[in-house]
Symmetry: C2
Subunit: 156 residues, 2 copies
DNA sequence: TATTGTTATACTCTATAACTATA
DNA sequence: TATAGTTATAGAGTATAACAATA
């Protein structure tokens, strides 16, 4: 086990304040850099982040309306109208009438769209797992735990 | 609505072969989500990511040319011209003549620009450290090590 | 009247190509 | 000729406001 770098002696109760802030700054920079590098790995279509995100939502949650997509991404409806239009033009999504509500539009993934998501994820996972393969068991265990912790605090 | 078979959620990594790929997928999603949440915390000026990044580079590396900034951010020079122009209009950076090379422009942070970076970082660190404060010592140690590991593999 | 989606308009960020000024 | 920066033009993404169609 790599050493858990025992906390320096001082400051019993209030130590966490300064420590948290230093770790926060360190984590902030590191997470940002890692994410940026990861997103540089893209699929064939070379989709933008917003475009890819829409495909990913559709794959995860199934067909839905532009309004729901906009809400999910916390952007205004007209922006999603354009993004969905772009994806439809490229054949990555399909727009159909809602069966019962004439106002709504149902956006769904095409086979091409699904393949694009899979390809992009495959590349990103490949890049990351190639680097994880260079780590020892201990380090991988740390990252596994870290992912769980980050998931927890990000959910709040 | 008959959904298009949404993907099952990523399985938590277990200790066996093929773990790298599972951990990679898990980390990828987690890092992305954490970073997105962090960047939602912004300073007074409400700068965009590219704008803020320029200020951060200038603070870290000192005055430099638009060309260097563009290279650093891996964007084309004209895009940086506009971003720097925007920041100059808002008084966050200053553009001066290069002392010896008449072609070059020297971009540097103003006091306002420096304050904006500090304010944004303060908010992001505050958000993150507030969540770190809710963790036990062991979890914080894990994140400390994880930051070091991520920094190492991202540098490659 | 409320909801859903679109169109109209404007601003930012990005790119490539062409141009100016300097080295 | 090469380099640094800008301007011109175009496409994507974002926003707000106004509109059309439907519930």
């Amino acid at each position: 086990m790599s050493t858990v770098s025992p906390n320096p002696p001082p400051e019993p109760a209030t130590a966490s304040a300064g420590t948290d802030l230093a770790l926060a700054a360190d984590l902030r920079v590191t997470l940002s850099r890692a994410t940026r590098r990861l997103k540089a790995e893209r699929g064939e279509a070379g989709l933008s982040d917003p475009q890819f995100n829409v495909l990913a939502i559709l794959l995860r949650e199934g067909p839905t309306s532009p309004g729901r997509l906009a809400e999910h991404e916390r952007i205004a409806a007209p922006a999603m109208t354009r993004t969905v239009g772009c994806l439809a033009d490229r054949g990555l999504v399909r727009k159909d009438e809602h069966p019962t509500d004439g106002r709504q539009v149902v956006v769904s993934l095409t086979a091409e769209g699904e393949a694009e998501v899979a390809e992009t994820r495959r590349r990103r996972d490949a890049w990351l797992s190639a680097r994880l393969a260079g780590l020892d068991t201990e380090d991988r265990a740390v990252l596994t735990q870290a992912a769980e912790i980050l998931r927890r605090i990000t959910a709040s």
